[in-house]
């Protein structure tokens, strides 16, 4: 018996998935929004790289980059990017306990404990990042 064989029933009705199925329910729309935050993540990585490259090319290149950053439409766009990054973080950390089942002394850690630990880690990591960017490591 071929496991891939599907009997063909011309009279059975098969509904096609509409192309914008994700607009049909709020939960689906939230899901697609969450998935689209990956664009913000990729963009952030690239922008970091661009600044490093500009720094490497010298003062003039970096000054051009900083002017680009300061332009109002760019700032507005980056506000959206930051919002998307925060949305990524929140949705990612909230789902952490689903994938990570930790046991301490034979008992399973409750979801709120796992999520809180992740949020604390986020806070700590953010503090380290800001400390470093302000020159704390010098």
């Amino acid at each position: 018996m071929n496991p891939a064989y599907r009997p063909h029933h011309p009279k059975w009705h098969r509904e096609r998935m509409p192309i914008f199925w994700w607009l049909g329910r709020i939960s689906y729309t939230k899901f697609i929004t969450r998935e689209l935050t990956s664009l913000a993540v990729g963009y952030a990585a690239l922008l970091l790289l661009v600044e490093i490259g500009a720094l490497a090319r010298g003062e003039a290149a970096h000054a051009r980059f900083l002017r680009f950053l300061a332009a109002p439409p760019v700032v507005a766009f980056h506000l959206l990017v930051c919002a998307a990054l925060v949305f990524h973080s929140v949705t990612w950390l909230n789902l952490a306990p689903k994938a990570l089942v930790l046991r301490l002394g034979g008992r399973r850690l409750p979801d709120w404990a796992v999520v809180s630990a992740h949020y604390l880690a986020w806070l700590a990591a953010s503090a380290v990042v800001v400390w470093f960017l302000r020159g704390g490591a010098a």
């Binding site: 990956s38 993540v41 952030a44 790289l49 490259g53 003062e59 490591a137």
Partner: protein
């Protein structure tokens, strides 16, 4: 049955997602909102170069950039499959996403290696 290669990309996706979730928001807000708007003191170019020059810093930066790119690649690939129902372009989309991420990772490695 041949095992899928998906676990490899999923590992990159999930570690990239976790790293991005932990460090990118703070970095983005600091560098691209607070700094241009003058909420934080601006650093001179010399200071910035000195800050990012150490090998450890460049390594961490490389890991963050590379994993974030592969996180994007994997997630965006599935967003195209499911959101726009382009699963029949399986090979093309995989090539563009993972190929693009690989290319950019190589560029990142090169830029960071030669910094400053």
């Amino acid at each position: 049955m041949r095992r899928s290669r998906e676990p490899f990309f999923w590992a990159l996706f999930s570690s990239g997602g976790m790293l991005a979730a932990l460090v990118l928001p703070a970095a983005a807000i600091y560098l691209w909102v607070a700094r241009p708007l003058g909420w934080v003191p601006a650093a001179t170019d010399a200071e910035l170069v000195a800050r990012f020059a150490p090998v450890l810093v460049r390594l961490v930066l490389f890991v963050v950039i590379a994993l974030a790119l592969f996180h994007w690649a994997h997630r965006f690939r599935y967003t195209l499959y499911d959101g726009l129902q382009l699963a029949h372009l399986y090979g093309l989309i995989a090539t563009i996403c993972y190929g693009g991420a690989t290319l950019l990772t190589i560029v990142a490695a090169w830029v960071l290696w030669r910094f400053p």
